[in-house]
């Protein structure tokens, strides 16, 4: 129900008090446009040490089934730069 509510929805079809009746809907709220600087991933320098993705506050570093990190998900990355700070190999630079 809540997924259908957008900025064209009339008040009669909105939930009372804005209550959300479904779990796990934060993914519908893309926060990437809050970013003023962006992390860039340099795969050649990456050793897949696994230090970067646990510190990401927004789960914007996808990890595949082989436990290897992939490129950033810029839909949710706010550009905080924590990942670049923890990377020991210079594989993430802020631009």
């Amino acid at each position: 129900m809540c997924e259908k509510i957008n900025n064209n929805t009339p008040m009669e079809d909105m939930t009372m008090g804005g209550t959300i009746y479904e779990a796990g809907n934060a993914k519908n709220f893309k926060t990437g446009d809050w970013r003023s600087v962006k992390p860039v991933y340099i795969p050649e320098k990456c050793k897949q040490c696994g230090l970067c993705f646990p510190v990401c506050p927004d789960d914007a570093i996808p990890v595949n089934k082989e436990q290897k990190r992939e490129n950033f998900n810029y839909d949710y990355c706010k550009g905080c730069g924590v990942c670049a700070k923890v990377c020991p190999f210079g594989a993430i630079v802020m631009e």
């Binding site: 957008n6 900025n7 929805t9 009339p10 008040m11 909105m14 009372m16 008090g17 804005g18 209550t19 959300i20 009746y21 479904e22 779990a23 809907n25």
Partner: protein
């Protein structure tokens, strides 16, 4: 059959809460409402209620705890006065915007400063646009009856708004009067069980309440609240009618006292109406066609109905127990006069600010108001509509 008793207004409110037996009561003591949580905590200690009593460290926490309890799916109640309500202010708006039908007993007192613990309506007037239903009570009986009706109104699916029952600090909260109580069984049956449609502790439906609500949404949610407040008028009428059938005690949006043929009418809320009725009777003995109108339901405001009720009068005085401090008039006066204007009821109407900080209002004061109204009828001259009653000159 009703039970005859004699109780103070605070005792009456506490007994109502005992009979309602809510899931949670969270309150912090403040004069003159202190006795309500005090008596109630005794009921808790004696095992007379099943309520979880939360002795919080401030009124902000009291309202926050009520919000948590109500959102979880329980019935929550509290009591406060004046600066206690001021400290709740942030959460008062949260409660109504999250559509949580919390019920509060507000024992009216002047909001400081300078420091004053006595009765006026400045606390209630400070939250009059916060989206709470507001019922006013002339005496202990009405404070009790309004509380018994409160949950039925607040929790109704077309309403779902919090509700406060007001009574005058000390004047009714601390004076013992006769009262008719209903049996525990009757109250339990009338109030019924609370079955919210959505609540946080429902493990079959995980929900999030009070999310971020920016430009695209808040306007619509506020309009929903306004709609619920309009719906409340119908629900208040239905619940009051059902209450009357059970108890014989009749309640409307307001009470008209000898207004049928009245030329001059005084409008007020809470305890002062007793003094006004007494004065009306005295004037009637002298052949003066005086009447009184007591507003019980202040939010939602029954503007059209009040305007109609005043349409036959030749002059009207509206008494406000809180000054608007707005160079325009008290809240009740400005609400009534705008309703009169919209309904094309063009009866000369004046405002009296009275009783501030517990200043006593005697029948001689009310007589002077009626005398002023007679003068207005005679001359048609209002001069200044924004007046004081009982202010030293």
């Amino acid at each position: 059959m009703s039970i005859r008793e004699r109780l103070s207004g605070n005792e009456a409110a506490a007994i109502a809460m005992k009979q309602i037996n809510p899931d949670v009561v969270a309150a912090f003591p403040i004069t003159p409402s202190t006795e309500i949580p005090q008596y109630f905590s005794t009921f808790v200690s004696n095992g007379e209620v099943d309520t979880e009593f939360v002795a919080v460290e401030s009124e902000h926490s009291a309202m926050s705890a009520c919000i948590g309890a109500e959102a979880a799916g329980g019935r929550a109640m509290t009591a406060t006065s004046a600066n206690g309500l001021s400290l709740m202010w942030e959460m008062i708006y949260i409660a109504s915007s999250l559509r949580l039908p919390i019920v509060m007993s507000l024992v009216n007192r002047a909001v400081s400063g300078p420091l004053n613990i006595h009765n006026d309506h400045s606390d209630a007037m400070g939250v009059r646009d916060s989206g709470w239903i507001m019922l006013f009570s002339e005496n202990n009986q009405e404070a009790y009856d309004n509380l018994l009706m409160a949950h039925r109104i607040a929790e109704h699916k077309d309403v779902q708004l919090p509700l406060m029952v007001c009574q005058d600090g000390f004047i009714t909260s601390h004076s013992i009067e006769n009262i008719e109580l209903e049996s525990d069984e009757l109250v339990k049956k009338f109030v019924g069980e609370y079955k919210p449609q959505h609540y946080l502790l429902n493990d079959k439906e995980p929900i999030a309440i009070g999310p971020l609500d920016l430009q695209s949404y808040l306007f619509e949610h506020k309009a929903q609240q306004a709609e619920a407040m309009r719906n409340a008028k119908k629900v208040i009428t239905e619940v009051s009618k059902e209450f009357e059938e059970l108890t014989g005690r009749k309640y409307g949006f307001f009470e008209e006292y000898k207004t049928e043929d009245a030329d001059i009418v005084v409008v007020a809320m809470n305890s002062t109406i007793g003094t006004i009725k007494y004065t009306v009777d005295k004037l009637r003995e002298k052949g003066i066609k005086a009447g009184a109108l007591k507003v019980r339901v202040f939010r939602p405001f029954p503007g059209d109905e009040i305007a109609k009720a005043l349409s036959k009068a030749k002059a009207v005085a509206v008494l406000d127990k809180a000054d608007g401090l707005n160079a325009c008039g008290g809240a009740l006066f400005t609400d009534i006069t705008s309703a009169m204007q919209l309904n094309k009821v063009l009866v000369p109407t004046v405002n009296y600010i009275y009783g501030i900080g517990g200043r006593d209002t005697k029948s001689s004061d009310i007589e002077s108001v009626f005398a002023d109204l007679q003068e207005i009828v005679k001359t048609g001259d209002i001069n200044n509509p924004y007046r004081y009653l009982g202010l030293r000159k």
